[in-house]
């Protein structure tokens, strides 16, 4: 077995030093009835070539996003990741390091965490950010719990156009923790009256921007209404590239900002691993979940970085911790921070403008297809169309013709019949003129 360095003579010599007759003597504390004598019913070891063949064949059964005209979004987005990103994150010293508990020999990890926090705070327009969460949806759930801690109130008011999976995560976590959620019905025009649902019991209002359907909105009135009732405004986003063009949540009055960082530096991965972004106002820093990296000095006065404020965390505070999070998405946040550094101010803005321009072009082209309606007047790189055909059949038939057209909205809102003819369509910098032409041609075909 190539992964195991001990030889049989090594094992014998080690047993002799221990004073054990056989390896079984080391398992002496395991009750007899729980010991397995032989192997379980699974295949035995295979060589590298065999494993590559077997799993390669499995991979070959899937349609990768990059192999077809691809317009699927809904919380995860196909972007181009520069080759440098994957090369750097595969460096052994990043890839195979652990949580930086020994700062003297972990400055590489700590410095990039500090840079990541700064980038996220800048992007969202907030004071502080933590050093990555599992993903956007769990970050959203944590933000709602944090709002309860800050306000000591029990009810979260959710926008009806919050990503349904984010809503489900928040509802699930809240229900178990004993909090209330007012989820709101799906509203696709972006003008829902959230303000009317805010009352004295409200701890927070959660609004997605751009929302699940694509609408981009001004949140200032909602922020004012929330603050008037001493509730926090939580702004969520699933497409971080939007922050290159859209007014940041911090400038719209957000108290906590959460989002999905997958778009920058990270592959689609069929749903994970992703990286959650979490930022807040300075005054709430001690109520934040997850890890934080802070600046300090070493014994010679040199600037360095350490994990800090860990008295909020589970390994110190146990049942009084701000969350139970232990593992973060460190490597995904490294990918994010490298990609963001490559883009810089200029590249990130331009990436956003290309995304938006491509989406606008696509929307214009789709609007010319008979019977198709764009139902989101504002959007960034994802918008919603109403089609004369049931969305399930439409997407299915288009997939058969080699175009992955978008997300059937009712897949995420089952049981809402009014959504049966809606498709959320995403376009990014990877979509070419030819991709758009293919979309239009195939759409016309299946509608005819």
């Amino acid at each position: 077995m190539r992964y195991l360095p001990l030889t049989e003579p090594d094992r014998q010599a080690m047993l002799a030093r221990i004073g054990a007759g056989s390896i079984d003597d080391l398992f002496v504390d395991v009750p007899d009835e729980a010991r397995r004598g032989g192997l379980v019913d699974l295949p035995t070891r295979q060589g590298e070539l065999e494993v590559e063949r077997l799993l390669g064949a499995m991979a070959a059964k899937n349609t990768p996003a990059g192999s077809v005209p691809f317009f699927v979004g809904g919380g995860a987005y196909k972007h181009h990741v520069p080759a440098t990103v994957d090369h750097l994150i595969q460096r052994s010293e990043f890839l195979t390091a652990y949580t930086p508990y020994q700062p003297e020999i972990s400055q590489g990890t700590l410095q990039y965490l500090f840079e990541f926090q700064t980038q996220v705070a800048m992007l969202t327009g907030m004071d502080v950010a933590n050093a990555s969460m599992y993903d956007g949806s769990t970050a959203c759930g944590e933000a709602v719990l944090m709002a309860h801690r800050v306000t000591r109130k029990k009810k979260a008011v959710l926008s009806g156009s919050l990503h349904p999976h984010y809503r489900a995560v928040v509802e699930n976590l809240s229900e178990f923790a004993g909090y209330e959620v007012d989820p709101g019905a799906p509203v696709l025009d972006g003008t829902e009256d959230i303000i009317a649902r805010i009352d004295d019991e409200t701890s927070c209002v959660v609004v997605q921007n751009p929302d699940f359907f694509g609408n981009v909105r001004d949140l200032r009135a909602i922020a004012d209404a929330a603050h008037a009732k001493k509730a926090l405004l939580i702004v969520a986003f699933t497409e971080v590239v939007s922050l290159g063009m859209v007014t940041p949540p911090g400038e719209m009055g957000a108290d906590i900002v959460v989002g999905e960082g997958q778009s920058i530096g990270n592959a689609l991965n069929f749903g994970g691993p992703y990286v959650g972004l979490f930022a807040a106002k300075q005054k709430y820093v001690r109520q934040m979940p997850g890890r934080l990296c802070g600046e300090t000095v070493d014994a010679e006065g040199k600037r360095g970085f350490v994990l800090t404020l860990s008295t909020r965390e589970q390994h110190i505070r146990r049942e009084k911790a701000t969350s139970n999070i232990c593992t973060n998405s460190g490597l995904c946040c490294l990918a994010f921070t490298i990609h963001m550094s490559l883009l810089g101010e200029e590249g990130f803005g331009r990436l956003a403008r290309i995304n938006h321009a491509n989406a606008v072009k696509l929307a214009d082209q789709l609007e010319d297809v008979g019977g198709v309606e764009i139902v989101t007047p504002t959007f960034f790189n994802e918008f919603t169309i109403r089609t004369p055909k049931n969305a399930r059949d439409l997407i299915d038939e288009m997939a058969d013709k080699g175009v992955l057209a978008g997300v059937r909205v009712s897949r995420l809102w089952p049981g809402e019949d009014s959504l049966d003819d809606l498709v959320a369509v995403a376009s990014t910098e990877v979509n070419t003129e030819a991709d758009r032409a293919a979309f239009v041609a195939v759409l016309k075909e299946v509608l005819s």
Binding site: Y3, F27, G56, E175, T247, G272, C332, E345
Partner: protein
Amino acid sequence: MNKQGRPTGVGELGEAGRKTFTGNRGLAQEELLIFERDSGACGVDLDEPDAFEDRLGGNRRKNSIGLPGLSEPDVMRHYVRLSQKNYAIDAGLYPLGSCTMKHNPRLNEKIARLPGFADVHPLQPTKTAQGALELIELVAHWLKVLTGMPAVAMSPKAGAHGELCGMMAIHAALEARGEGKTRTRVLVPESAHGTNPATAALLGYTVDSIPATKDGRVDVEAFKAKLGPDVAAIMLTNPNTCGLFEKDIKEIADALHDVGGYFYCDGANFNAIVGRVRPGDLGVDAMHINLHKTFSTPHGGGGPGAGPVVLSEALAPFAPLPWVIERNGRLKFADVAEQVEEVGGSTFGRMTAFHGQMGMFVRAAAYMLSHGSDGLRQAAEDAVLSANYVLASLKDTMSAPFEGPCMHEALFDDAFLKDTGVETLDFAKAMIDEGYHPMTMYFPLVVHGAMLVEPTESESKASLDLFIATLADLAESAKRGETDRFAGAPYLAPMRRLDETQAARKPVLTWSPPAPAQAAE
């Protein structure tokens, strides 16, 4: 005269006193923050789109973000230099107990990056992702067989997320029995990971701590005294965090089940027993498996991991969304409660947006297939052998709080440092100067000045021997009163000891641009 290749003397200043203009020391180069390296360049080629009218409804960003601009070579150099300030398992032994730092096969990385896995969208039609669903089912099958459990929930994103999942399933099952409100207490041994009490508290449970016996295990009598109709569950780690197998595990499970509680097992240490013990045979109802530890995903500076949860018959019906089900010979996701009910389930809801850490599933599958059932068993045995070898070799030089063999980690305490003026922390920092990452310190809490060493199965005997000799030398040195070696350590790391108190007192969590210089008088 050409002196190339000839040895030269240290010179007048000596190595330590030699100052350089740049602050660099040869290959050890200082590196500014990325924000301080801003040159206004751009590291990507993207063309400005043709003029167009935006559809942002008047919500266009007006202010710049403040991001630095660097060329691709400058970004490359920045992160390469940062990487060189990190210790990593590929660079040396990383004996962090309870964290399992073992070899990370690069085959796993290669396969996880195949476009057929990495470039597949979670919401693309499932008929275009049958291979991805097959892979999830493959990993699920292995986990079920290896643990002897009938069901597994794949979506939890990490070990602690898995704990949350398992405890939610327990809560949901209790609700279904009409006891959701009356069972309010969760028993957690003193030696548990902090995530265990944090998880129980998150779900509104009262955490009731169980003391440990003198031999480092759950005090069964104390445990039994706490049993009652208000107990929802026990959260117990086995092998436990003292590196010991809980001998009385069956008795604990039976007594708990007799009063109607559920047994949550923290599976963080499953790597010690995989292939030799099936948790299902121990009476476990729910257990998370840290795929990254037992089935090897690189720790990546702290993540990502993955924490699937195996479930007993009693809890299987409550697994979170989505479930993978088969319809007309094709795999698909059951995304909502109604679809789950069709196959006899009653899910407690959704834990995360999509369906878990696919990238980690692929790595786990590659690792499982490479090792096979025989290799996994051998790996567990070698991990246990290595830990016992370290324990047996050092127990007389250092001090071990418990008798008998350990599982995959060897626990020492600070008794051997008594009256030497050297503390656990100093001892650990001195290991850095010897080229080792320190072991886990001050955990588990049940032992004074704990030092938990987990060598894992991927160290050779020669590597273990050098490690043992190094620790023995440090221990002897401490006992001889050579406190200088410890008090200021590390001396030879990229940085000297960092001031964590200052960082916490005056938190500086983001970089800010220097204040603009005052206008000249």
